[in-house]
């Protein structure tokens, strides 16, 4: 009807429409003549209705406007369907227009008239523009494409997209160009996402991808909304260059990996405290990374201190923390979660934020318990060896002096006869000399380190006989519990030395229990590994018999334990015992190529363990052969 309606009727019709509307007739020469306009068009175009109606466009409108309109009308005729475009007109400033043209067809299907509705979208457009400029300033690309099977993939608008994609400004940036600029991999990822969104009737599509550009590869993050509007599909969105951010993330990840690996390799623990000097979880790494972290959340360092042991550098640690100073290699006894104690060496640095506020400490912690124990052992061995050396030298000198003393006193006693008043004096001199001789002999036994060849004897038998003898001969009564395994193994030891060792240990144990206590004597076989702990004790790898003599007496503290094997060390009152008993045990055990160790605590009795190297079956016959040849 619009096609055939007379101009007046048309006018009435379009007057009712709220937007500016015009209708042009398509003339044979490709010219266009205004047939009807409504009132609102005059405001927009600045030309009166009368000036427009009935005139060709080139006569009614300014030349450039007419030219632009004419081209669009011609496109509409050529397209044969509704057509929308962005236009503008200058009328007291630039007005931005969104013009939709609808062709009106006759029965034959020819376009005879076109109805045009120009909408003033200046405000919207200006707002849009401001948004786009802002995005451009922020390095963001903003874009809008038509998509879908009926669309031409035309770019509706874009800002900043070409440089982001590495395309020149005048390159076409329709959807095809945009997709074409992507790598195959990115395109293959994006296409199904967009199709899914279209199928779903709309939705957000996000993708980060690598984009090759002439300036080198960049990493882009794009986010768009697919809008399905009846038959038309658009995608609107923005793209940001995240290359720097990516590089930063990668560098951060790499650094963190390095840190985690170093932390795993390190046998130290990491710790961190807050501004109240209480432990907090350590960030960045944890148990799952194979890194040891101190489990002490909420506790202060003083809570970890084991009060049973000397505090060592604890005061210095607390002073440093109070002064917010860094500290290095300070030692204190730390209570472990299982109740045992380890000696640790800690280092720490204070942390501050940008404002200079104290945040707490960060640091490392090394368990030096094993190292300390090893050093103690080494020190002990060296001390014993030094004592042995000195004792040996001293003994030699004394022996040379004691010989004439005893010999001449004995001769002189023979010479003076029984009636002489000198007789008892001379006897006393000789007796005293012999007592000195025994002491020196005891000291020499302590310092003995020989491995004199000795036919192997069955150790268990020798020990049983020695225990029976010791318990029977010594004065005090006590309960003796035996758990001596009947080991068939032999050891290259003298039965007399076994007896001496057993006698001295049993005597020591009976002294500790003071009568009425329980003595345990045990013998078992152990395999000593060739590890650092065994080496520190001077024990070669192999099979050993362990003679254990334990008592439930008063026990010994750490200070006594440190000196227990020293010659002449005794806790007994003066005149009772020489303090040589245990040093002799030590000397004999080491002479065998074994060792003696003691464990004790005040009130908890004591247990002595003597390690005796056993003769391996194959070696015993070999030993006999060697003896024959060495002579």
């Amino acid at each position: 009807m619009l096609t055939t309606l007379a101009p007046d009727g048309l006018r009435t019709l379009i007057d009712a429409i709220g937007a500016p509307v015009f209708v042009v007739a398509v003339e044979d020469e490709g010219a266009f003549r205004f047939v009807a306009v409504n009132g609102r068009l005059e405001t927009l175009v600045g030309v009166t209705d009368a000036a427009l109606r009935g005139h060709r466009i080139e006569d009614a409108l300014p030349a450039d406007v007419a030219e632009r309109l004419g081209r669009r009308l011609a496109d509409c005729v050529a397209a044969g369907h509704a057509y929308e475009y962005d236009g503008y007109i200058e009328n007291d400033g630039v007005r931005w227009l969104k013009v939709s043209l609808t062709p009106l067809l006759d029965d034959a299907g020819r376009v005879v008239r076109i109805m045009g509705v120009p909408l003033d979208v200046t405000d919207t457009r200006m707002a849009e523009d401001r948004l786009l400029r802002a995005a451009e300033a922020g390095g963001v690309a903003v874009w809008e494409w038509t998509l879908g099977p009926d669309a031409d993939g035309g770019l509706l608008k874009q800002v900043n997209l070409a440089p982001l994609l590495g395309l020149s400004e005048d390159a076409g940036t329709d959807a095809a160009a945009w997709l074409g600029a992507m790598t195959d991999e990115a395109r293959a990822r994006l296409t199904p996402m967009i199709e899914a969104a279209i199928a779903a009737g709309g939705g957000i599509v996000t993708m980060d991808y690598a984009q090759p550009t002439p300036a080198g590869p960049r990493h882009l993050l794009g986010r768009g909304r697919v809008c399905v509007d009846g038959g038309s599909v658009r995608i609107v969105g923005s793209t940001v260059d995240v290359t720097e951010r990516q590089a930063l993330t990668r560098a951060l990840t790499a650094e963190r990996t390095i840190f985690r690996e170093l932390a795993q390799l390190s046998s130290d623990w990491f710790w961190m405290t807050d501004e109240n000097d209480r432990f907090v979880p350590f960030p960045a790494v944890g148990e799952g990374d194979g890194v040891t972290v101190l489990q002490a959340e909420g506790l202060s360092r003083r809570d970890l201190l084991d009060p049973r042991l000397p505090a060592e550098d604890m005061a210095e640690i607390e002073a440093a923390v109070a002064a917010r100073r860094p500290f290095r290699d300070l030692v204190y006894p730390q209570r472990r979660a299982d109740g045992t104690t380890s000696t640790v060496s800690i280092s720490g640095n204070p942390r501050f934020d940008e404002a200079g506020r104290y945040l707490g400490y960060i640091g490392v912690c090394t368990d030096i318990t094993a190292r300390r124990n090893w050093m103690k052992l080494q020190y002990g061995r060296q001390k014993m060896e030094a004592l042995g050396q000195m004792a040996g030298g001293l003994a030699h000198e004394l022996n040379n002096l004691l010989h004439p003393m005893i010999a001449f006193a004995t001769r002189a006693r023979r010479m003076v006869g029984d009636e002489s008043p000198a007789a008892p004096l001379l006897e006393d001199i000789a007796t005293s000399g012999r007592a000195a001789r025994d002491i020196v002999r005891g000291v020499l036994t302590f310092s003995r380190h020989d491995r004199a060849e000795q036919r192997p004897i069955v150790l268990a038998d020798a020990i049983c006989r020695a225990v029976d003898f010791a318990v029977g001969v010594l004065p005090r009564e006590a309960r003796v519990v035996r758990s001596i395994e009947p080991l068939p193994d032999t050891a290259a030891v003298r039965a007399a030395d076994v007896a001496q060792v057993v006698m001295n240990l049993v005597s020591n144990a009976l002294d500790a229990t003071g009568g009425g206590g329980t003595l345990t004597v045990g013998l078992r076989r152990v395999q000593v590994p060739g590890d650092a702990a065994a080496e520190a004790r001077g024990l070669a790898r192999g099979a050993y018999a362990v003679l254990r003599i334990a008592d439930d007496g008063c026990g010994m503290d750490a200070a006594v334990l440190g000196s227990i094997f020293d010659p002449f060390f005794t806790t007994k009152p003066v005149g009772e015992g020489t303090g040589l008993g245990l040093s002799v045990v030590y000397g004999i055990a080491r002479g065998w190529g074994g060792d003696v160790a003691v464990t004790s605590a005040p009130g908890e009795g004591a247990a002595f363990e003597v390690f005796v190297p056993l003769v391996a079956e194959a070696a015993s016959s070999q030993q006999r052969q060697t003896r024959d040849i060495a002579v």
Binding site: N400, A407, L444, S447
Partner: protein, 116 residues
């Protein structure tokens, strides 16, 4: 042979009381010289002596006097454990080892064993 004069005197005394003739030497070298000059029935030798010690004497005296019985006396030493030296002594043909300080009757029993 003994570098400590008092020990020499004590041993000498015990031997003379038993009727032996005694020649003293202060170290192994003097002892070897004496062995070259005269013949002896027995040598009593300390291990640790300056210049030529007991072990050296043992090695060298065999060239002069093939089966001279030797009793070694020892006081222990600062540089080697007691029994290693004693063992060595026996390995080189010493009849017996006595450890100072020993009683006179111990010495005489050893002398009897060495001579008999």
């Amino acid at each position: 042979m003994e570098d400590q004069p008092l020990v020499r005197k004590a041993v000498r005394g015990a031997l003379e009381d038993a009727g032996f003739g005694v020649v003293e030497a202060g170290d192994g070298e003097e002892g070897l010289s004496a062995a070259r000059r005269d013949s002896f029935d027995l040598a009593i030798v300390d291990i640790w002596m300056p210049r030529v010690d007991g072990i050296e004497f043992l090695k060298q005296v065999r060239a002069i006097h093939a089966d001279l019985p030797v009793i070694v006396i020892s006081g222990g030493g600062p540089d080697a454990p007691l029994e290693v030296k004693a063992h060595l002594a026996q390995a080189h043909g010493a009849h017996e080892v006595l450890f100072k300080p020993f009683e006179d009757d111990e010495l005489m029993a050893a002398v009897d064993r060495a001579l008999g």
